[in-house]
């Protein structure tokens, strides 16, 4: 899978999954892996960034299957960001697809 394609996109994916339900990091890897390859070395730094930027907050919850889980939940700002990023992604893919089919001429 083309690593470069994922740049910036995994961020929307994480925000989008969190928009549906709170998740812990390991769970996010599993959820997103159903569609896109993603490694733990990617998700944890990304989650830290999202927290630093105020898009998510966290809470700890114990587990019977292993060490405690750190759940992430969207803030108000995170929901807004999720919405805006999604719109930008749609605009971007529309623009790229227009180029790929060769219909990018202005007026002819």
């Amino acid at each position: 899978m083309n690593i470069q394609f994922k740049k910036g996109v995994l961020e929307i994916c994480v925000l989008s999954v969190l928009a549906h339900k709170d998740c812990y990091g390991y769970e996010l890897v599993n959820e997103i892996s159903k569609q896109i390859d993603i490694s733990e070395g990617t998700i944890y730094p990304l989650l830290r960034r999202l927290k630093d930027e105020g898009y998510v907050t966290t809470y700890l919850q114990e587990s019977v299957e292993g060490p405690p889980r750190k759940y992430y939940l969207l803030t108000e700002s995170g929901r807004k960001e999720e919405h805006e990023l999604k719109e930008e992604w749609m605009r971007f893919t529309t623009a790229v697809n227009a180029l790929l089919v060769g219909k990018n001429d202005a007026a002819e």
Copy 2:
């Protein structure tokens, strides 16, 4: 415009435009700019890479409007790459969109 989204994608855009017609660098910037912001500091290193990888070859052609133009044309290998990258891009966007609408569950 989200810079990260473009990572790896501009390469397909260039290959795709070149699949329709030979272009020189400055012309590619203008063509692609109709849909996506792209700067000259991006296109020239990218074109060099494509040449190093054997996806394009070049020829010079004089111009009455300025300095000589360096035209790029796809090689056989370049056409193949263009096709494969495009397919990968389609698969990728399909996967991302599945995640964004929350329909990424296995069997329910």
